[in-house]
């Protein structure tokens, strides 16, 4: 097989940068297999890459410190990449999910190298323009998109049959929509509304926010205004600030605080008094969100009591402990010998509804220590989580992982590509884990949304099942014959053996958890569905 040096270099670089196509990869593999000289060139290429990376890092340090430094010996514990990456993304979260999404790609990367992953980068340059901030009794036309609360919204058509939603545009404008309504998102600062009632709040930084209607365009110069397209004669009401109204064949009109205008062609000269009463739906949203949250919380409490009484539930953490508690009570009626979970790091926060407690995991040290004695030929894991992000620098994020890599250990985790993995350690020396991996669950669109996850392991039927929001996602045949034995385990993190002296891979989960159960039975589809309701 003949190949030019240039072509070979292209293949080498593609492999190193992660941009190589499957076809080229096959070709590269064949070339490497065929020739010892090509393999030698590959080794030299990799050493050259090591040198370039090390030089770049030294240069960066030298520039930061402003002085020449001696090249330090390589030190595995000094790799700044792993922890740094995780912590940086937390900053994005503190600023809110919408901001986090836009700035994802703008963050300065830490010094240490990371494999290029074009797929992940393409996702990172999100095309979203807004986020669905809140909603009550939402009913979407399901032939179009039907976003959930906290979902990022891409340009496109949304039809709300009923209910009230609040859309936050990335440019800063907030639009409250009462169904039935149809709205087309155009950009981070523009939408087209065909029908429905809308109430907009446009802060100064979103000046110029534009709403198109069949009767003309509205350009907001920093205000609060209402738009009613349901009446036979559509109306625009300005509550505060200034709005430009552009209509065909009519001079632009400026509306100011307290004024309103009809949008009909023949009514375009009408000027009315702004009537806030017609748009109370937006001010009622707070109260309605609270009320619907309270109802859901009540339903959860009732279902929770039934679930705790299930004789097979060994560990149930409902995260309803006293404020500031440093342990999580095991509220399972039959949890007898299983102790409370111990919180290490991690802060209390609000869960799915007001009044629902939850733990926030953000740093590499945050975790809940558990002890689950016993062997389980069947078990089910269930958790409500809000995942805030996945670092491409970290291959796994722990949901619940046994300590170390001991035979029978269970490793329930989110992989870096957003798929779920249940690993059962088949042998500790040499370390072999039977991994069951689901299709991708956590795309960027799901970050920040409450998601119910369950995994079922059953040696009787020799099946492993994954569930997302109560729906079965995938089934896998059990590979080995080791009986799972979770023993010491952690939620949201992983520890090698406690006396391990070296550095170890970071596995921390970045997000919130407000419900966790371990059940010594292979739950059926309908049982998992109930837990996800």
């Amino acid at each position: 097989m003949n190949v030019s040096d240039q072509e070979l270099h292209r293949l080498f670089a593609g492999k190193a940068d992660g941009t190589i196509t499957a076809e080229d990869h096959e070709r590269l593999s064949a070339l490497l297999t065929a020739s010892a000289e090509t393999r030698r060139q590959w080794f030299a290429f990799q050493d050259a890459e090591s040198a370039l990376l090390a030089w770049s890092q030294r240069e960066a340090l030298r520039r930061e410190e402003g002085v020449g430094i001696e090249m330090a010996g390589p030190n595995p514990a000094a790799s700044p990449s792993k922890a740094g990456g995780g912590l940086r993304s937390v900053g994005a979260l503190a600023a809110g999910i919408a901001i986090g999404l836009v700035t994802w790609g703008l963050w300065p990367e830490p010094v240490a190298p990371v494999a290029p992953n074009l797929a992940a980068r393409e996702e990172a340059t999100t095309s979203s323009v807004a986020v669905l901030a809140r909603g009550v009794n939402m009913e979407w036309d399901r032939t179009l998109a039907a976003p959930a609360v906290n979902a990022p919204l891409q340009p496109g058509l949304l039809r709300l049959r009923s209910g009230v939603v609040e859309i936050e545009f990335f440019q800063g404008a907030r639009l409250c929509v009462e169904g039935p309504a149809e709205i087309q998102l155009i950009s981070a600062g523009e939408a087209f509304c065909r029908y429905g009632r809308f109430s907009a709040h446009v802060p100064p930084q979103a000046r110029g926010f534009r709403i198109g209607t069949p009767k003309g365009d509205i350009v907001d110069l920093g205000t609060d205004f209402g738009l009613d397209l349901n009446e036979t004669s559509p109306e625009l009401h300005v509550f505060k600030g200034e709005v430009e109204l552009h209509q065909p064949k009519t001079a632009m009109r400026m509306l100011t605080t307290g004024t309103a205008a009809g949008l009909d062609q023949n009514g375009s000269t009408r000027t009315l008094v702004a009537n806030a009463a017609a748009f109370t739906f937006s001010r009622d949203l707070d109260a309605r969100v609270t009320a619907s949250g309270r109802e859901a919380f009540d339903r959860w409490q009732a279902a929770s009591a039934r679930w705790n009484a299930d004789p097979d539930v060994r560990l149930r953490l409902d995260f309803q402990d006293e404020k500031g508690a440093r342990s999580l009570r095991n509220v399972a009626a039959n949890g007898g010998n299983i102790a409370a979970g111990t919180i290490v790091g991690g802060n209390w926060t609000e869960g799915r509804w007001p009044g629902k407690g939850a733990l926030q995991f953000r740093s590499v040290s945050d975790r809940v220590r558990l002890n689950l004695p016993g062997e389980y030929r069947q078990f089910a894991l269930s958790a409500w989580v809000q995942l805030h992000g996945l670092s491409t620098r970290q291959s796994q994020s722990s949901l619940c992982m046994s300590q170390g890599i001991e035979t029978g250990g269970i490793h329930w985790q989110v992989l870096h590509d957003g798929s779920l993995c249940l690993g059962i350690v088949a042998s500790s020396r040499p370390s072999v884990t039977d991994d069951y991996i689901s299709p991708v669950v956590f795309t960027r669109e799901r970050f920040g949304q409450w998601t119910h996850l369950a995994a079922v392991f059953d040696m009787a039927t020799r099946e492993v099942r994954f569930y997302v929001n109560g729906e079965r996602l995938s089934r896998h045949a059990v590979k080995g014959s080791v009986v799972p034995k979770p023993s010491l385990a952690e939620l949201g993190n992983w520890m090698p053996s406690p006396d391990y002296p070296g550095s170890h891979p970071v596995r921390n989960f970045v997000g919130v958890m407000d419900d966790f159960s371990f059940c010594a039975r292979a739950l059926r589809d309908d049982e998992v569905r109930q837990l996800a309701e």
Partner: protein, 179 residues
């Protein structure tokens, strides 16, 4: 748990040996996995196994030779579950690369030293491009946006630089071998 303030002699010895072999182990893993991030990740995982087996280590043996077998196993395991790309070398090629790389690593230090001098020969704009590329995790798209240049043009330019540097390294090594 031992007091972290007073590391046991075994853990001290382990860390010393691991540190001394760190570069070679990374170099060993890189040729099988193709990139440094995966290699670092695998080395961290392998370090755990190596530590657990450390009691069985015979100090009269070469530490790298002993540890690299665990690293090799870990690399294969890693590719199945956690590698950043789904494209992997097959088992046969992995074995061959591992076998040959052990002896090849004797050239590693000379290559690194040669490359360091080649980088200094680049003009400032070339050096800056190289630095930005590697510091930004070889993310050409983001770099292109920041510099206001087309990604493909930038990537071509970078690859030309990498190739030139690679040839410079080869030339220097040949010269040294000739002396």
């Amino acid at each position: 748990m031992p007091d972290p303030a007073e590391p046991s002699p075994a853990s001290e010895q382990f860390i010393t040996l691991l540190n001394a072999s760190h570069g070679r182990l990374l170099g060993f893993l890189r040729v099988m996995l193709g990139n440094s991030a995966d290699a670092e990740d695998v080395l961290q995982r392998a370090s755990m196994t190596i530590w657990r087996k450390f009691a069985e280590y015979d100090p009269s043996r070469d530490f790298f030779a002993w540890a690299s077998s665990f690293a090799f196993y870990e690399a294969k395991n890693f590719q199945r579950t956690a590698a950043r790309s789904r494209l992997h070398f097959d088992d046969e090629l992995m074995h061959r690369l591992a076998d040959e790389r052990v002896a090849d690593l004797d050239h590693r230090d000379a290559r690194l030293a040669a490359m360091d001098r080649c980088i200094e020969e680049l003009d400032e704009s070339g050096r800056e491009l190289v630095r930005e590329f590697y510091l930004n995790n070889t993310d050409v798209a983001a770099l292109a946006e920041r510099l206001g240049r087309a990604p493909q043009t930038l990537y071509n330019k970078l690859n030309t630089l990498r190739r030139m540097l690679g040839e410079c390294m080869k030339r220097r090594l040949a010269q040294e071998a000739g002396i």
